[in-house]
Amino acid sequence: MTVTTGPVADSPAEGRQEYAVTIDHVSKRYVQDGPIVLEDLCLDVRPGEFVSIVGASGCGKSTLLNILAGLDKPTTGTIATSDRPTLIFQEPALMPWLTAGRNVELALYLRGGMTRAQRKARAQELLAMVNLDRSYNQRPHELSGGMRQRVAIARALAQGRSILLMDEPFAALDAITRDLLHDELTLIWEETGLTVLFVTHNVREAVRLGQRVLLMSSRPGRFIRQWDVRIDGTRRIDSPAVADLASQITDDLREEIRRHAK
C-alpha cells in the first residue's frame, strides 16, 4: 500500500470494504514538533475479529482508540472503518442521574428511530443479555463495579454498532469479577459477531480474549510484534496454553520496557 496522508476517511472510498478497520500509516503528535505519540501504525482488522493490543504505559493505546472513535484526529495517515465504532472506557461512565435501564435507553434514544415503549423493551433485552434484567431500576451507585461495567457494555450494544473499542475496561475490577466478565464478553462476541479492538496492560487478558495480539512499544507508540492466537476450546485466564503464549509476549514486552532505561 502507498503512504497516504490526509483527513480521516469515515467511510471507505471504494464501495468494497474488506476490513472492518484499516489503519494506514497513522502517526499522531499533539503539538507540532512535539513528541510523537503514535508512529506509523498499520493495522487491518477483519469483520468479526477480536484483536487485543498490549503495551506499557505511554504507548498511546488510548490515543489510538480515541482516533478510531472519532474523538481525535491523526496527524498523518488515514483510518477507515466500516461503521462508526463505539467505545467502552475503564470507568463505566454511567450517568448517575439515570437508572441502569435508563442509561441503556439513553443510548437508544440518541440512536433514534424507536418509540419509548420499544426503547424500554430493548433496554430490558440488553440488560438480560448481561444478566442484569433485575437491575433495570437500580441506580449506578447501587451496583457493584462489575455490574456497572456490564451496564456499560449493554449501553454500548444499544448503539447497534458493529465495531466495539474497549479501553482497559476491566482494569479496575477484582480478579474474580474480571474473570466472569471475560466469559461474558467472549459470549457476547460469539453471539453478536462484533469486531472488537481490546486495549489492555494485562498480557494474559489479551491472550485470553484475542484472536490476534499486537504488542505496542512506548514513546513513540508503534506496533512491534503480533501473534495469531491459536488455542482450541474454551480458554481460561489460567489455561496452560494462555499462560505459555502470555509469557512469550511478556518477555518481548519487558525487553521493550528495558530499552527505556538507557
Binding site: 450517568m95 448517575p96 444478566n131 441506580r139 457493584s144 463495579g145 459470549l187 501473534w227 491459536r230
Partner: protein, 319 residues
C-alpha cells in the same frame, strides 16, 4: 478456523498488516453451546452480584417524622425564652412585645382579611419573579458555560452583580418604572438572576469530564447534548443556584415592598411591615418579620429540601 492446537501461536510480522495469515473466523461454537454457557454464566453472575450488593436499608417512617419535627423544638425554646423575658418586664411592650401581643397583632390583620392577602400577594410576586429569573438565567448560564470567550467577557460582571445587594437597585427602579409592579419585578430579577446563572456555571464547571466523553461516544449533539447530558450532570450545582436564587428573590422582594409603598401596588408582607413601622406598632413589626421568616423556611422545607434530598440520594451522594 484455527486449524490445530499446536503451536498455540504464530508470530507474525512487526506491523498489524494482514499478510495472509490463516483465515480468521468466529470460533466454532453452536448457538446451543452459547446458550448453555450463557445459562451457566448467568448463575455465576447472579451469585457474585448477590455477594457484592447489599439491600438498601429503608429507614422507618417514624425517623423521618422525628427529623422533620425537630426544628420545632428550637422554635419552642426561642418562644419560651422570649415569653420569660416579657414576664420579667425587662423592656417595655413597645420595644419588646410579648408573644401573645404579636399573635394578637397578626390575628387582627387576619380578621381584617389583610394577612392572607398580603402573604398570597408576596408569595405570588416572588414566585413569578423567580420563574422569570429561571427562564432568563438558564440560557445565559448555558451560553457562558459552553462558550469560553463569553465567560471571560461577562463572567466578572456577573460575579459583581451577585455581590451587589439588589436593594441598591430600588431607587433606580422607582425612577425608571415609577411605583409600579415593574419596579418590584425588576428588583427581584436583578437579585435572583445572577445567583441562578452562577449556580448553573458552578454546576457545569464541576461536571466530571468522563460524562461528557461518554455523551460524545453515545452521539449526544446539539440540543440533546444540553438537555440529556450537560443539564442533568450540572443539576446539583444548578439546584444550589436555584435555592440561592429563591432566597435572593424573596429578600429582594421584601426590600422592594418595604421601600416602594403605594396603594397602586396592593398589599404585601413588606407593606405590612412598613405600616407597622408607621403606626409604631412593634407587635405588628415583629409579627411581619416572623411571617417573612416563616415563608422562607416553609419554601425551603416544602420545595427545595425534598428535591435536594432526592437528587443526592439518587446519585449516591447521600444515604
Amino acid at each position: 478456523m484455527p486449524s490445530s492446537s499446536l503451536p498455540t501461536s504464530n508470530e507474525l510480522d512487526a506491523t498489524g498488516r494482514d499478510l495472509g495469515q490463516p483465515e480468521v473466523t468466529q470460533p466454532d461454537v453452536t448457538p446451543a453451546e452459547i446458550a448453555q454457557q450463557g445459562r451457566r454464566l448467568s448463575e455465576l453472575n447472579a451469585g457474585l452480584d448477590a455477594l457484592e450488593t447489599t439491600d438498601v436499608m429503608r429507614r422507618p417512617i417514624t425517623a423521618g417524622v422525628v427529623r422533620a419535627l425537630s426544628p420545632l423544638l428550637a422554635i419552642a425554646v426561642v418562644v419560651l425564652i422570649w415569653q420569660f423575658l416579657t414576664w420579667l418586664r425587662w423592656q417595655p411592650e413597645w420595644i419588646l412585645p410579648s408573644p401573645q401581643g404579636v399573635w394578637n397583632a397578626l390575628w387582627g390583620q387576619y380578621e381584617q382579611g389583610l394577612l392572607v392577602e398580603s402573604v398570597i400577594n408576596s408569595i405570588r410576586r416572588a414566585a413569578q419573579g423567580f420563574v422569570i429569573s429561571i427562564i432568563v438565567a438558564t440560557p445565559i448560564g448555558l451560553a457562558l458555560g459552553l462558550v469560553k470567550p463569553l465567560r471571560a467577557i461577562f463572567g466578572p460582571i456577573l460575579v459583581g452583580l451577585q455581590q451587589l445587594p439588589s436593594v441598591a437597585w430600588v431607587p433606580a427602579a422607582i425612577i425608571w418604572f415609577g411605583l409600579s409592579d415593574a419596579t418590584i419585578y425588576a428588583v427581584v430579577l436583578l437579585g435572583a438572576i445572577p445567583s441562578i446563572t452562577n449556580g448553573l456555571l458552578a454546576g457545569m464547571d464541576q461536571i466530571p469530564p468522563i460524562y461528557l466523553r461518554a455523551g460524545d461516544v453515545l452521539g449526544a449533539r446539539g440540543l440533546n447534548r444540553i438537555t440529556r447530558i450537560v443539564l442533568p450532570a450540572a443539576w446539583p450545582g444548578y439546584l444550589a443556584g436555584l435555592e440561592q436564587g429563591w432566597a435572593f428573590a424573596w429578600r429582594s422582594l421584601m426590600a422592594a415592598e418595604l421601600i416602594a409603598v403605594s396603594p397602586a401596588l396592593g398589599l404585601g408582607i413588606g407593606q405590612m411591615l412598613d405600616i407597622g413601622r408607621q403606626l409604631g406598632d412593634m407587635a405588628l413589626v415583629i409579627g411581619s418579620i416572623l411571617v417573612i421568616l416563616f415563608v422562607g423556611v416553609l419554601v425551603e422545607r416544602v420545595v427545595f429540601n425534598p428535591i435536594r434530598t432526592r437528587t443526592l440520594r439518587n446519585r449516591g451522594l447521600m444515604r
